[in-house]
């Protein structure tokens, strides 16, 4: 008897490397500290963007090569950049891997600009930083 095959396409798995987890937590802190806009919605958009990569991991062009790895970049809402490395399938047992390396936001300007309801002030209440200095919650 021949085993039946699933008709759904096998999608690559997504993993978050340590630096990426750190940068996403830092971004979460920043979004959460900002009183403007919907921080949960912004985070869900980034999550959806990462999941969309499973269907088209090569849609983003290569932007850099470091230590033999090709880095790609996905932009979410013009201001959040997701850097990742895609490893194609090897053999029959793997569907490939998308390794998230970092999530970055704009270094200047209000990340909520144009994505929030009308507000009096455009200045964010939290300090913007491109560095990952936020310690993880145990």
């Amino acid at each position: 008897m021949i085993a039946s095959r699933s008709k759904s396409p096998r999608l690559p798995r997504v993993i978050w490397r340590r630096a990426a987890r750190r940068s996403m937590r830092a971004l979460t802190d920043f979004l959460d500290a900002n009183v403007h806009g919907d921080s949960k919605a912004r985070r869900k958009e980034i999550e959806a963007a990462v999941e969309s990569l499973r269907h088209s991991p090569l849609r983003c062009p290569a932007v850099a090569t470091k230590e033999g790895k090709t880095f790609r970049r996905l932009v979410v809402r013009d201001r959040y950049f997701v850097y990742y490395v895609y490893t194609p399938p090897r053999g029959m047992t793997s569907a490939g891997t998308i390794s998230i390396r970092a999530v970055r936001h704009a270094a200047t300007q209000n990340p909520f600009l144009a994505v929030r309801e009308s507000l009096a002030a455009d200045q964010p209440h939290a300090v913007l930083s491109t560095h990952d200095t936020t310690p993880a919650i145990a």
């Binding site: 396409p9 993993i15 996403m24 849609r59 062009p61 013009d78 970055r104």
Partner: protein, 93 residues
């Protein structure tokens, strides 16, 4: 392989195309890379970005035996993290 956009309705696909973009380096504005290649600065749609490649791709990281955390697991962890933040904020009010 198929794209997510192709599986969605045209309206959803348009929304997604607007939300998620993948510009080439040539499509960025005012892009400057330091001679050592570590620092990168550019503008995109009115936002300014400064990138330190040592943070994204630390030296030696590729030779580390780090598997990484599966997406679903990390998202669940992040949900718990946000709940803790909200609880802390609620307690301080």
């Amino acid at each position: 392989m198929h794209s997510l956009a192709s599986a969605a309705s045209p309206a959803q696909a348009n929304d997604m195309e607007r939300l998620f973009e993948s510009p080439t380096n040539e499509e960025l504005d005012n892009r400057v890379v330091s001679p050592c290649g570590r620092f990168e600065s550019f503008d995109y749609k009115g936002n300014h970005f400064e990138i330190d490649w040592d943070e994204i791709a630390p030296a030696g990281a590729e030779s580390e035996d780090e598997e990484g955390t599966p997406h679903e697991e990390f998202m669940a962890e992040l949900d718990r993290y946000v709940e803790e933040l909200e609880a802390l904020r609620g307690a301080s009010r």
